[in-house]
Symmetry: C2
Subunit: 904 residues, 2 copies
C-alpha cells in the first residue's frame, strides 16, 4: 500500500480526484503540477495513515512510513538541488494539514522547517541576507513552538511566552516594531525562545531537521483530534474516520526582499459571485502575514485596488504610493497570476481560492481549492457557469449547499430606514446580509446571551478559531482588523453570516467592554446594525425588509423542479404562511396545526369553557361556538392552497396548555362560567401532568372526547365544501395525531367518516377527503402494517418520534444535549438533523410496513427535519411522497430533494 | 362441515377434547354421555357458527344451520319420545351458551323453551300438575323476555317491568311470596308479562316454539358481543375470535314436586382444596333458584350439612327438620350423585363443578366443568392428585394459574371478620395483602408513629420518593390518585406491602388531616383496613392472619425448578428484600436501584449538597461522604446474595426528586450549606423539568457528571471486594440506565473500568465484575447491535420502554388508559401486561440484535412485567436468561417460566 505521494516539476503520483486519500490540498497540489502550474515540489502523506495513527499511535506510524518519507525528501532534494539539513545548501519545507474538506479549526502551518542554527548561518551566507535567515529561524522556532510543542496559550488571558520574550527584547532595545530588530536581536530572540520552550516543556527545542519533521507530521495527525477540529467536524458533519493528510513541500520565500511577495486570491467575488478576479498580497512577507492583520494587505488588481481605496477614503495618490496593486508593483508576476487563476478556474470549473508566493520575481502557487462563498455567490457563480456552458444543470444542483439558500430568503435593510440610519463606522463588506443586535465582546458572552434568546453582534479586534462558537450564534460579526480574507471574513461567509471586517477606525476596549465609533461610546448590550454588503455599521436597530428573490434564485428553483422526484409541502397554520410558502414553491400543506387557532380572542374563552365542562353536553355547547371560527380558518387555508392538498392535524396539545394559570384570569373565567374560583383552580390542577408530552393529548383527546373530533371534522368538511362551491379545488386530508395503535385511528376515523357523511347528507353534496395519521409514537412505526389498514396517508412527525425514540424531552434536553455534543457522545442535535441510525430505522420500518399493507400509501414527513437537507435526502431515499417544512425552508428542501434525485 | 353435534343416551358426536369447537359445556356434555353419566339428550351448535354469525349476521346463519338443527331436534324427540311444540306430548328444551372457557359475563340460560299456552295446557293435563305447567310458562316468559327480548333492566335503578307486574299482582292478591300464587294468578301473570313485552318491544311475545328457539340461539350469539362479555374477555384475555357454542338440551324438571330437586356441587373444597365432596340443592326448584338466594339452599352431604348448621348456629334438630341433606332427603339419588361426581373427577382428573337436576327421583347431570378455586385450593388439589398418581408433574405445572400464588404469600383478612366489615371506598388492587392501621397523612408521621409501635396506614393523594421511608414502615398505603403502576403501587408491590391506589372518591384534606369516605369523616389516628387484593377500604380494624407457606407450595416450587429453563431474579434494594426473595427462590438480583439508598438519614443531606454544588470539586466533596454509605449498602446486598449475581443500576432519577420542595426544608438546607434561601430556591427551580421522564436522568447524569458514576462504581467494587475477602462469592454487575446510544455506554464503561482498575491497584486484588445496560429507550433496542459491543449484559427495562414506545407517561396515563380499556382501544394495561405486539417487537429486536453482535450476551428483563405470567412466557420464548421481579412475584414468575418450558 502506497502511503506517500510525491509531486513536483510537472509530475505527480496523485490526482485531483484522489481527495479522499490525499486531502483536498494534496490532491490539488498534485493536479496543479500535472496541468503545468508552478508548484514547489513536495509530497503528501495519505489520510489512511492518519486513521492508523489514531488507532495505533505515533511510534507504529513513524516506523511504518519512515522509508517512504525519506525517499520522498530525497526526491524533493533532487528537484530543488538542495539537501535537507545541509547547512551549505539547505532544503527547508513547509508542513501543512489537509483534510478532504477545508477545516479552519485544524492545525496551522509550520513554515521553514529544517532550519537550525547551522542552517540559518548557511542561509545567511548563501542568500547574503542574514536578517532574512535569522528572521526565518525566529519565525520557525515560534511557529513550531506554538503549533507542535503546545506553547500557544490556551486562552486569551494566559500569557503567550513568545510574546512575553518579544516584548522584553523590544523594550530593552527601545523599539516598537519587529522590523526594527536587527540580526543580533533576532539571534537573541531565538535563544530566548528556545529557553522558553525548555522551561515550559522540559525539553530542548529540536535541533535536528528530521526530528523537527516527524514532530510536525505527528502534530498534524494529533491536530485531527484536537478540540477545535472535533467541534468543527461536529458543526459540519464531517466523519472522524476521514482523517487528514499531511503535505510537506519545499519552502519558497515571499520574504526574501522587495522582489518577493505572498498573497491570497479568489477567481470570482466570493461575496456577490461576480466574475471579478480579486485578492490581496504583501511584499516581503510570509503567508501568515496577509491574514494576521498586522500590515494592511494590498489589492492584486488595479481595479480592485482603486475600489478598495475609495471605500477606505484613500486618495489615488496615497493609494498608488503606499498601497499599489500587484499589477502596478510586479506587472509580470501579476500577469502570470491572472493567467494562472483563469487556467485553474477553467480546469476545475469552479471558483478557486488560491494561495501564492513570489520568490525573487518568480510566481509559485501554494494551494488552490474551491472557494467558500455566500449563498448569493453560490447561486450566481453556478448559474453564470451554466450559461457559459462550463457546467450542466445537474452540476449546478450538486454545487448547491441548500442551507445557504437561507441567506437569500432573509430580510435586508429597508432602504428608507437605511437612509435615516446613521453610519458610525465603515469596514469591509466581508460577508453580505443585514444584522441588528446587541454588542458583546467575547464569544462566551455571545453564547450566553444567545441562549437567553438575545440577538447579539460579536465585536472583536480580530477573530480566531476560538471564537467560532460565538460567531455561530451571533447575528453578525464586526472586526476592527483584518481584510476580506481574514479569519472573520472567511468563516462568516462560510456560515452565511453578516460580517463587517477591518473597520479600522473603531476603538475597542475589551476591559471596559466599550467600543467607540465616530466619537460615540457604545457599551456592551447597546444596539448596532451591520450591513455586510457595504461594510457599514449603523447606530441602533435598523428596520429590515423582505429579501428580493433574484432571477438566478428562481432559475435554481426551476432546475430543482425539473429533477426532483419528491414534493415539498409546507407547515402552515394561516392563509398568510400558506401564501408565502406557495411563493417559495410549496405544493400543498403537510401540516396545519389547529391548536394555534384556539388562542385568539373569544376562541380561548370557548375553548376553556369546553375544557372545564363537566360533561359531554357542556363540551358540545362550547364546541358549537368554536365550530364557525374553525370553519372560517380552514376556508381561508383551502382558498390559499387552491389545487393542492391540505393536511389538517386534529387537536394535539394537552388541554392544560389552554387553561389560565394566573389567578386573575382564573377569577375572570370563574365569573364567566358561573363557577367558584376553587372549582376553576381544581379543574386546572386536575389537568396538570407530570409528563405532559406523554400525557392526555393527541388522539387521546379525540378518543376520550369524540365530540372534539366531530366538531373539527365538521369544520374541515364544511369549509372544504364552501371553498369547493366557489370553484376552489380542495383536497382536505384529516390527520389524526399521536396514534399508537390501530384501534385509536379506527375509532377516530369512524367519527370523522360519520361526521362527513352527515354533512354530505345535510348539504346534498360531497367533497373528496382523506383520513391519515401522524407516525410519531414509536409504537405506530412498529405496528404501521396494522395502522395502514385504515390510513390513507402517513406523515412522520419526527419531532415527537425523536423525543420518544431517544427519550429526550425537547424542552429539557438542552441541559445535557450540549454536553453530549461537546463530549462527542452525539454527533448532531437529533432535533435538527434526523438521527438516521436510530429514529431513521423507525421511519424506514413505518414506511415499509405501511406500504406492505397498502402499496400506494402516501407517505411524508412534517417534523422540523423536513427542511434539513441531509434529512430530506434520507426521506427521498425511502421513496417518500413529500417532505413538509416551514415556509422559509421550502427552497432548501426543494434543492435537497432535487439533489437526492440527481445523486441517485 | 358439520355444525351441529348431537348427544344423548350414552352416545355423542362430540368429545371432551373438542372444547374449541363445542365449548367447554358442550364438549363435556358429549363426554359425560360417552362415559355413562345420565345427561338429558340435546345438541351443540359449534363456536364456528358464532364466528360466522358475527361476520354474516342472523339470516345467513339461520339459513345455514336450519336443516341440521331441525334434524337434531328430531333426534332429541326420538330419544325423549316427545315432540317439540306438540301440546299433548311436548318436548321442552333449555338453551345455554358455552364458550371454550367459562364466561360469567355471558348470556344466562333460557329454560322451558318450547312452551306456549297450548303446550302449557297440555303439560298441565299430562302431569296432572297445572300449577307446575303454568309456573313453568310464567318463568319462561320472564326469562325469555329478560334474556332474549332485552327486557332486563340495564341498571339497578331502572324499573324491572316483570317485577313491577309481579308486585302489582301480589299486592292485588294480598300475598308476599310467589309460591302463594295459584294457577289463575299465574295465568294472569303470563298475560300481563306478555303485554309488558308488547309495550316495551312493540312486538308480540313469540308463541311459536321454533321462533322461540331461533330467537334464543341468536340471542346466545349476540351475547358474545355484549358489553359484559367484551369486558370479561378483556379482563381475562380471551380472544374475540373464539366465539361461543350454543347448547340445546331436553328439559328435565327439578320443580315437578317433592321427588324432584336441583343443585350444584364441587367434587372438592374450592376454597381449601380439601378432598371433600360438597354442594347445595333445593327440592322442587329450577336451576336458578339455588343461586338466586330466595330460598335457603340445603347441603348435599350429611357431614356438610352438619358443619353448615354449626356455622349458622342452627341446632341439629332444626337442621334435620328444616334443612336435611340430600343424603337424608333422597338417599338413593344422593348415592347416585356421589358415585357420579367421583366418576367425573376421576375421568377428568380435576376438581369438577357440577350442575344436576333430580326429576321425579331420577338424577340427571346438566353440566360438569373444572371448578374455579382459590390459590390455596389450586396448589393443594394439584399436589394431592400428583401424590395419588392421577396427574404428573407437568400437569401440576400446567394447572397453576401463577397469579393466584400471590394469594398465598400475603397476610389475609380473617374470613369471619371480613363478613362484618363495612366497605367505605374502593380503589385499585395495587398491591395485594390485608392491612389494618391508624390513618396518618405524612411520611414523617408514619415514621414517628411506627417508632412508637403504632400500626399506621399512610394515606396520600399520591406518593413520591420522599414518602419512601413512611411507606416502608406503614402497614399499607392508600392513595386517591394513580393507577396500578403509580409510584405508590410499584413501590408497594416491590415492598410486598398492601396498597390500594387511585381511590378517586375519597376526599383528602392534608390541612385538616381528614379523609372523607362514603360521607364519613376520618381523622388522623382513626382505624381503617385495606384489602390490597380487592381494592376495598374498610371501616375500623379488621382482623388479619399471616400467610402460611404450606409444604405444597414448596413442592410446587420444586417442580417448577425442575422444569424451568430460565432463571428468576428479584428486584431488591435492601438486604432484607434480597433475603425475602431468596427464600422465594430468586437466583440473584436483576435490579438493585441505588436511588432509594439516598433518602435515608444524613444521606439525603449529602446528596443535596452534591446536587447544589456549583462545580465538580464541590460535587466530589459531597460524593466522598456518600461513598462509605453506598459501599455499606452494597456490602449487605452482596452478603445476602452470596453465590448469585447482583445487578446494580447506577443513579437513575432526575436530581429534582432529591431536592427539598418545602420552604422549611429549603431554609434548613440553605443554612447548612451556607447559601441564601434564594440560591437554594433557584437551584431547585433550575432542576425542574417539563417532562422529567424524558429529562436529565439515567446515564445522562453519569455522562454530564462522571464523578457520580465514579463514586458508585467505587462503592460497588470496594463492597464486592470486602465481601469477597470474607469468602462470599460475589458477581457485581454494574448496570448503566437509560442508554440510547453506544457512545453513552462506552463513556460510562470507561469511567467504571478506570475506577475498578484503580481500586484493584490500591488493594492489590481483583474481583470479577460485569458492565451492562438497561434497554429501556426505544433507540437502545433499535441500535442494540451497536450497544452490545460494549455490554456484557442487557436488561430490558420494560416500564420505561413501554412509556416511550407508547408515548404514555405512567403517572398520567390513568386519565385515558381506563377509557381506552373500556372502549376496547387497548386490550390490557400495557404497564401490567407486556404489549407483545408493539413493545415486544423492540424487546425481540433488542435481544436478537444484541446477540447478533455477541452470541452469548446475557439478556434479562427487570420491569414490572418480569412478574406477570404472560410476559414471563414471552421472555422465555425469546430465550432470555432471566426475568427479574419484586420479591413477592418471584414464585409467580418461577411457575410461569416453568410453564413456558413445559409448553414449549
Amino acid at each position: 500500500m502506497k502511503r506517500v505521494y510525491t509531486f513536483g516539476n510537472g509530475q505527480a503520483e496523485g490526482r485531483a480526484d484522489m481527495k479522499n486519500l490525499l486531502g483536498g490540498k494534496g490532491a490539488n497540489l498534485a493536479e496543479m503540477n500535472l496541468i503545468g502550474v508552478p508548484v514547489p515540489p513536495g509530497f503528501t502523506i495519505t489520510t489512511e495513515v492518519c486513521t492508523t495513527y489514531t488507532k495505533e499511535g505515533k511510534e507504529a506510524v513513524v516506523a511504518m512510513i519512515k522509508e517512504e518519507v525519506e525517499n520522498a525528501i530525497a526526491y524533493v532534494e533532487s528537484l530543488m538541488g538542495t539537501k535537507f539539513g545541509d547547512p551549505k545548501n539547505p532544503l527547508l519545507v513547509s508542513v501543512r494539514s489537509g483534510a478532504r474538506v477545508s477545516m479552519p479549526g485544524m492545525m496551522d502551518t509550520v513554515l521553514n522547517l529544517g532550519i537550525t542554527e547551522e542552517v540559518a548561518e548557511g542561509i545567511a551566507e548563501k542568500s547574503g541576507n542574514p536578517r532574512f535567515a535569522w528572521d526565518s529561524y525566529r519565525r520557525f522556532v515560534q511557529m513550531y513552538g506554538d503549533v507542535v510543542l503546545g506553547m500557544k496559550p490556551k486562552s486569551k488571558t494566559d500569557i503567550d511566552p513568545f510574546e512575553e520574550v518579544m516584548d522584553k527584547v523590544k523594550e530593552a532595545k527601545g523599539v516598537k516594531l519587529d522590523t526594527e530588530l536587527d540580526v543580533e536581536d533576532l539571534k537573541e530572540l531565538v535563544k530566548l525562545f528556545k529557553s522558553a520552550v525548555k522551561e515550559r516543556t522540559g525539553k530542548d527545542f529540536p535541533d535536528n531537521p528530521w526530528e523537527q519533521l516527524w514532530g510536525a507530521i505527528c502534530a498534524v495527525f494529533d491536530s485531527w483530534m484536537n478540540e477545535r477540529a472535533i467541534y468543527y467536524r461536529r458543526m459540519n458533519q464531517i466523519p472522524e474516520e476521514w482523517g487528514t493528510a499531511v503535505n510537506v513541500q519545499a519552502m519558497v520565500f515571499g520574504n526574501m526582499g522587495e522582489t518577493s511577495a505572498t498573497g491570497v486570491a479568489f477567481t470570482r467575488d466570493a461575496a456577490t459571485g461576480e466574475d471579478i478576479f480579486n485578492g490581496e498580497y504583501l511584499i516581503n512577507a510570509q503567508g501568515e502575514d496577509v491574514v494576521a492583520g498586522i500590515r494592511t494587505p494590498q489589492q492584486i488588481t488595479l481595479e480592485g485596488s482603486r475600489r478598495w481605496a475609495k471605500l477606505q477614503g484613500i486618495s489615488e495618490e496615497e493609494r498608488a504610493a503606499k498601497y499599489p496593486s500587484l499589477e502596478e508593483a510586479m506587472p509580470v508576476c501579476a500577469k502570470d497570476l491572472i493567467e494562472t487563476q483563469q487556467k485553474l478556474e477553467d480546469y476545475f470549473t469552479d471558483m478557486q481560492d488560491l494561495e501564492f508566493t513570489i520568490q525573487d520575481g518568480k510566481l509559485w502557487l501554494l494551494q488552490t481549492r474551491n472557494g467558500k462563498r455566500t449563498g448569493a455567490a453560490m447561486v450566481k457563480i453556478a448559474m453564470d457557469m451554466l450559461r457559459d456552458g462550463q457546467i450542466d444543470e445537474k452540476t449546478v444542483l450538486k454545487r448547491m449547499e441548500p442551507q445557504k439558500l437561507d441567506e437569500l430568503l432573509h430580510p435586508i435593510f429597508d432602504k428608507v430606514a437605511l437612509k435615516e440610519a446613521q453610519v458610525m463606522a465603515k469596514g469591509l463588506p466581508a460577508s453580505p446580509g443585514a444584522a441588528s443586535g446587541q454588542i458583546v465582546f467575547f464569544a462566551d458572552d455571545a453564547e450566553a446571551w444567545a441562549e437567553k434568546r438575545k440577538k447579539v453582534i460579536l465585536v472583536r479586534i480580530e477573530t480566531s478559531p476560538e471564537d467560532l462558537r460565538g460567531m455561530n450564534v451571533a447575528q453578525g460579526i464586526l472586526t476592527a482588523r483584518g481584510g476580506m480574507t481574514s479569519h472573520a471574513a472567511v468563516v462568516a461567509r462560510g456560515m452565511g453570516k453578516c460580517c463587517v471586517s477591518g473597520a479600522g477606525e473603531i476603538i475597542i476596549d475589551y476591559k471596559a467592554r466599550t467600543i467607540e465609533m465616530s466619537g460615540k461610546v457604545y457599551k456592551e448590550g447597546d444596539w448596532i446594525s451591520l450591513n455586510g454588503s457595504t461594510g457599514e455599521v449603523y447606530d441602533g436597530q435598523v428596520r429590515t425588509v423582505e429579501a428580493d428573490l433574484s432571477g438566478d434564485f428562481g432559475a435554481i428553483m426551476d432546475i430543482a423542479e425539473k429533477f426532483t422526484q419528491m414534493d415539498v409541502r409546507t407547515n402552515a397554520d394561516t392563509p398568510r404562511d400558506a401564501e408565502v410558502a406557495r411563493k417559495f414553491g410549496a405544493k400543498g400543506i403537510g401540516l396545519c396545526r389547529t391548536e394555534h387557532m384556539f388562542f385568539e380572542g373569544d376562541r380561548i374563552k370557548a375553548m376553556r369553557e369546553m375544557i372545564l365542562s363537566k360533561d359531554e353536553e357542556g363540551r358540545r355547547e362550547a364546541l358549537k361556538k368554536l365550530l364557525p371560527m374553525q370553519r372560517q380558518d380552514f376556508y381561508g387555508i383551502f382558498k390559499a392552497m387552491d389545487g393542492f392538498g391540505v393536511t389538517i392535524r386534529l387537536l394535539d396539545p394537552p388541554l392544560h396548555e389552554f387553561v389560565p394559570h394566573q389567578l386573575a384570569t382564573q377569577k375572570e373565567l370563574a365569573e364567566e362560567m358561573g363557577l367558584t374560583i376553587e372549582e376553576v383552580k381544581n379543574a386546572v390542577d386536575a389537568l396538570a401532568e407530570f409528563n405532559p408530552m406523554l400525557g392526555h393529548r393527541g388522539c387521546r383527546l379525540g378518543c376520550t372526547y369524540p365530540e372534539i373530533t366531530e366538531m373539527q371534522a365538521r369544520a374541515i368538511i364544511e369549509a372544504a365544501m364552501d371553498a369547493q362551491a366557489e370553484g376552489t379545488v380542495v383536497t382536505p386530508e384529516i390527520m389524526v395525531p399521536l396514534v399508537g395503535s390501530l384501534n385509536e385511528l379506527k375509532m377516530q376515523a369512524e367519527v370523522i367518516t360519520a361526521t362527513a357523511e352527515q354533512v354530505f347528507a345535510e348539504r346534498g353534496a360531497k367533497v373528496d377527503y382523506k383520513i391519515g395519521t401522524m407516525i410519531e409514537v414509536p409504537r405506530a412505526a412498529l405496528t404501521a402494517d396494522e395502522i395502514a389498514k385504515v390510513a390513507d396517508f402517513f406523515s412522520f412527525g419526527t419531532n415527537d418520534l425523536t423525543q420518544m425514540t431517544f427519550g429526550f424531552s425537547r424542552d429539557d434536553a438542552g441541559k445535557f444535549l450540549k454536553v453530549y455534543q461537546e463530549k462527542g457522545i452525539l454527533k448532531n442535535d437529533p432535533f435538527q438533523i434526523l438521527d438516521q441510525e436510530g429514529v431513521g430505522q423507525l421511519v424506514k420500518m413505518g414506511t415499509e410496513k405501511g406500504r406492505s399493507t397498502k402499496s400506494h400509501l402516501k407517505v411524508g414527513i412534517c417534523g422540523e427535519h423536513g427542511g434539513e437537507p441531509s434529512s430530506v435526502k434520507f426521506c427521498a431515499s425511502l421513496g417518500m411522497n413529500y417532505v413538509s417544512c416551514s415556509p422559509f425552508r421550502v427552497p432548501i428542501a426543494r434543492v435537497a430533494a432535487a439533489q437526492a434525485a440527481v445523486e441517485k
